[in-house]
């Protein structure tokens, strides 16, 4: 389920949070409807990672999966609790690794 990450992939998304924060690492697409998690890292191309990061979907961001499927909808929780919703192609979502607390 969790594929090993190369250092290069890991570097593509800077500022990962410490692994002890999350108890389980899953892909964003593996979250259930309404389930929340914290973005740990991504295996995205640097350009895609940069764009998603600018949209708020960056390492350490708290996310909630609003709608599963292709494409999915993910809510990125802002610093004051307000969310911004992003519609995400499956090819992008499956490369974002999130940590979830069971």
């Amino acid at each position: 389920m969790n594929q090993p990450e190369t250092p290069a992939r890991r570097d593509a998304h800077e500022g990962c949070c410490p692994p002890e924060v999350a108890t389980r690492r899953v892909r964003l697409t593996q979250l259930r409807d309404g389930q929340t998690g914290k973005v740990l890292t991504s295996q995205l191309d640097p350009q895609d990672a940069q764009v998603l990061s600018a949209m708020g979907l960056r390492a350490d961001a708290e996310v909630r999966l609003c709608r599963t499927g292709q494409p999915c909808i993910v809510a990125v929780v802002g610093v004051h609790g307000l969310c911004c919703r992003i519609g995400l192609a499956g090819s992008l979502a499956e490369r974002v690794v999130v940590g979830v607390n069971d």
Binding site: E14, G15, G34, Q47, D48, Q50, V51, L52, S53, A54, M55, G56, R58, R64, C66, R67, G69, Q70, P71, I73, A75, G78, V79, H80, G81, L82, C83, C84, R85, I86, G87, L88, A89, S91, L92
Partner: protein, 670 residues
Amino acid sequence: MTLGAPEQRLGQAGQVAARPVVALLGHPNTGKTTLFNRLTGLRHKTSNFPGTTQEARIGSIGAGRADLIDMPGVYGLELDLPESAVCRRVLAGDGPSPVDGASRAPDAVCVVLDSTHLARNLTLVGEASRRRLPMVVALTMGDVARASGIEVDPARLEAELGCPVVACNARTGEGVDRVAESIARARIPVNTPPGDQAGVTRWADQLARRVALAPADSEKLLRAERRTDRIDRVLTHPVLGAVVFVLVMTGLFGVVFSLAQWPMEAVDWLFASLGGLAQRVLPEGPVRELVSQGVVGGVGATVIFLPQICLLFFLISLLEDTGYLARAALLMDRVLRPFGLAGHSFVPLLSSHACALPGIMSARGVPDPKERLATILVAPFMTCSARIPVYVLATTLLFKDRPWTAALAFVGCYALGIAAGVLSALLVRRTILRGKSRPMAIELPTFKAPSLRTALITTLDRGLVFLRQAGTNILAICVILWWLGAFPHTAPPPGATALREQASALVAPGQEEARAALETEAEHLERAHAQAQSFAGIIGRAIQPVFEPLGFDWRLTIGVVTSFAAREVFVSTMTVVVAGEEDPEAEGVLDQLARATRDDGKTPLFTPAACWSLLVFYVLAMQCLPTLAVTAREAGGARWAFLQFAWMSAVAYLFAFIAYRVALAIGGGA
């Protein structure tokens, strides 16, 4: 910065321009364009950023004392995206400015900040502040943030940044005047983020926490989120979402077609009256014909689409403002992505089924430049309303008294156009517009009531762009084509002269009807003769060998030549050339067309094989000069219009040839 005092302008020392320039920067969906519209009102123009297809809107603010550039909405200045590159170039003064063509950086930057997503938006402030340009921050969406319990303190933010921060509501206009005033006080921020991009993000997060209070009732926020979740699940559901989409689009186009009908009739009447007035006022001669038929007739035939264009853009703007259009793009992305197009391309392609002109113009909503260009190039393959008269003629001749078969052929024509469009898109995306498709990552804005003012300004903007086009390039093209069809004047054919002589002999009471019939017949002969002897007719005869493989004789070729400017002209040309009648719906014209024979006197003019060939040719051919003119403008160069014309003509020729040969092989030659 002081507006209206160029000698005191901040920025480039030693360079004094006529007026200070302010760049408006912000994320998408922050209300940036609404603010631009509020600040500039109707005092703006639309063009492209030099050397790009990115739209640049430039307006004047402060009673004409400064120019404001509405830059593309971007999530970051350092992103490897075309829109970010445009913003970087403008802020650096790298290349000609869209305002006056001079290479200079703007005198100030006004960053629009969405209060509901403060931290994320502040990263853009951080990136912009590193440009060391005087800055003003316009804080929008304060009402939405407050409704969610978040209170942003503009004074605190101003103190933290060291530049003016003004809260405003672009929808209601509240605080907009203060934004305009504060631009004169723009200052280079003192608080800039340290380090790399990660440093900017941390700086923005920390600053957001210091200047805004978190909501006390987080349950309220969660409830609102759940409600949006439920709506989104329906709107983006593969089946339910598609049903909603079909209903919305049917409603949209239903409204466009039904409401546009009256103003279109009014435009038609207006231009007919103007043509009539020119006929009465001007002395007989070529000038009168030029004005009444070439200028008034030509421009009228294009301007008649203005109501459709305005209504379409008005409704699309309203729909976009509600937040629905982003959901629709997400839904359609799955369908169009395999062909190298984005979900955003769906509305332009659908609009092109009414008319390619508004369709191509609405492609401005496609964010990726290559996907946008591909959309523009293939949009005219969609069956527009101008093709319908040709479809009606060909299917009626092919399937007389078999309405269901004719209807099936009609549907086939639509399907062929769509297939040709998406496959051509795939081809261009794999060849000349090669490049990685940007995977769908789209922000879904909060649902809200649309702004009527923004929709009206957008409509006016698009309408004016279209009218400028109609009054320049399209007018010139219309005049040339009218001249080709109307000149040279030739003497009436002997048959018509003989008929007129016979008619003039019928003077006895009771012979009025017979006299009128002879005169009508003479008139038909004269029209057919004039059309055949005109320059267009001569060209038609000369190039007939080119169309011979498609089964077209010289008369069908004249129809193709005269309808080069507009497809619908084909039917009226054929009725004139064959029946001498100007009205294709006149009694008996269709029978005359069906009975008409070629020069050998035996072979029907419209053989079944020729009808199939004609049908396929008109589904695929680019027979619309206004569309080419709009493509050249929207795509950023005449070479794209040329490519579009060459490709569509080649595809049309090839497939019409195949259709003709297949139809001949199965016995459709007579």
